[in-house]
């Protein structure tokens, strides 16, 4: 039980995918300018990440390794991730056209969100079992969502500020993300 909690804590705060591992920066910068979009993107990514972490573990354990197809790992994972993203896209389009509109190009881009593939591969690297993989994926996604929402709040405020012209938009976003990342360093060592 304790180790599962630690995995969650570690993935949400200490090894936050965005601010510590610097994965998934593209949607992080792209969709975090509004609360609604950030929350939607967070939820979509949570769905994709959790599912793909679990599925990729299953594929690795029961498909690739028994068949000796380790060299196909990347291709297979990407195939699975793409399929899940496609499914999510179809589902979101049906459930919430507005969210679909808001997420725009970033929704299919979850496929190339390195956080998703990264988490799947990290699971294998760290020799997690199925539950651990699932939690690792879920925790990373929650960490992603947390940072997205936090950052969306900041950017809504930044939008109303007199940021010098040269720093308006992405530059100030990256500087702020850097400071946030600095603050997250405080968590280092929290979980070994």
């Amino acid at each position: 039980m304790e180790q599962y909690l630690l995995i969650l804590l570690s993935t949400v705060l200490v090894n936050n995918v965005v601010l510590v591992k610097f994965l998934g920066l593209c949607p992080f910068m792209g969709v975090s300018n509004r609360f609604a979009g950030a929350i939607g993107m967070g939820l979509a990514t949570t769905f994709v990440l959790t599912l793909s972490a679990a599925l990729s573990w299953l594929l690795e354990t029961y498909f690739l390794r028994p068949l000796g197809l380790d060299f196909l790992r990347l291709v297979t994972f990407i195939l699975v991730i793409a399929a899940i993203v496609q499914f999510t896209e179809i589902a979101i389009r049906r459930i919430s056209p507005i969210l679909y509109q808001v997420l725009g190009v970033y929704l299919p881009l979850i496929t190339t969100n390195c956080a998703v593939l990264g988490v799947a591969l990290l699971n294998l690297n760290q020799g997690h079992n199925f539950t651990q993989s699932l939690l690792y994926g879920f925790g990373s996604a929650i960490g992603f969502t947390l940072v997205m929402v936090m950052f969306a709040g900041i950017r809504e405020r930044l939008e109303l500020n007199d940021v010098p012209l040269a720093f308006k938009g992405a530059p100030i976003g990256f500087i702020t993300a850097g400071m946030l990342s600095m603050a997250f360093m405080g968590f280092s060592g929290l979980v070994k």
Binding site: N33, R34, A36, G37, L59, F63, L67, G68, L69, F71, L72, V75, T76, L79, V80, A83, Q86, F87, I90, A91, R93, R94, P97, I98, Y100, Q101, V102, G104, D162, V163, P164, L165, K168
Partner: protein, 191 residues
């Protein structure tokens, strides 16, 4: 080698089947967003946006193919609403081009009533062989009348600014204490 190809093919097939099922059962027939957007548009079918009516414009908006600032009759208010609906950023200063209204040059008007027939809001009054004139407050600036006028006596002109009175006066915006360079820049764009 064969196993690898077979395995990938099998996987691909499986996922393909699942996705096609999903596409089948979760399909979206019409674009519900376009319906909502159409409701928001003025539905004057004036065609100033370059689309043949408000429905195609709504569809283009929903597909993200056109800007929210497309609709002159809707003005800044509509653009702001659309932008909020679609969660896009807009630069309202782009909208600053003045709304135009039709103006009939009376010396050339022959009273053919052609313009009256095409006006979407019936804002031109006149009778056969009589001078026509435009009710400015009802003109959407659709310019449909321009094309049909046989003597080219209709011109689009900016709305003349209403004379300021105590009743129509609004408080001016106070100046910011820190006129930053960025603010100066946006201000010069406004002009």
């Amino acid at each position: 080698m064969l196993i690898a190809v077979g395995a990938l093919a099998a996987l691909g097939l499986l996922l393909g089947v699942i996705l096609s099922m999903a596409a089948r059962f979760l399909s979206v027939e019409t674009d519900p967003l376009a319906d909502e957007l159409e409701q928001m548009l003025p539905n004057l079918q004036c065609g100033q946006c370059g689309f043949v009516g408000c429905r195609p414009a709504a569809e283009a908006l929903s597909a993200g193919e056109t800007d929210v600032t497309l609709c002159p009759p809707g003005g800044v208010a509509l653009a702001a609403k659309l932008a909020e609906k679609l969660h896009v950023e807009i630069d309202l200063s782009q909208m600053d081009h003045e709304p135009l209204v039709a103006f009939v040059h009376e010396e050339n008007c022959i009273g053919c009533t052609k313009c009256i027939l095409v006006c979407p809001t019936d804002c031109i009054i006149g009778a056969p062989k009589k001078l026509h004139t435009v009710i400015v407050s009802a003109c959407v600036g659709g310019a449909a009348c321009l094309e049909v006028c046989p003597t080219d006596c209709i011109e689009m002109v900016p709305v003349t600014v209403k004379e300021e009175s105590v009743q129509s006066w609004n408080w001016p915006k106070p100046r910011s204490p820190q006129s930053t360079s960025s603010e100066l820049a946006t201000r010069s764009v406004d002009r």
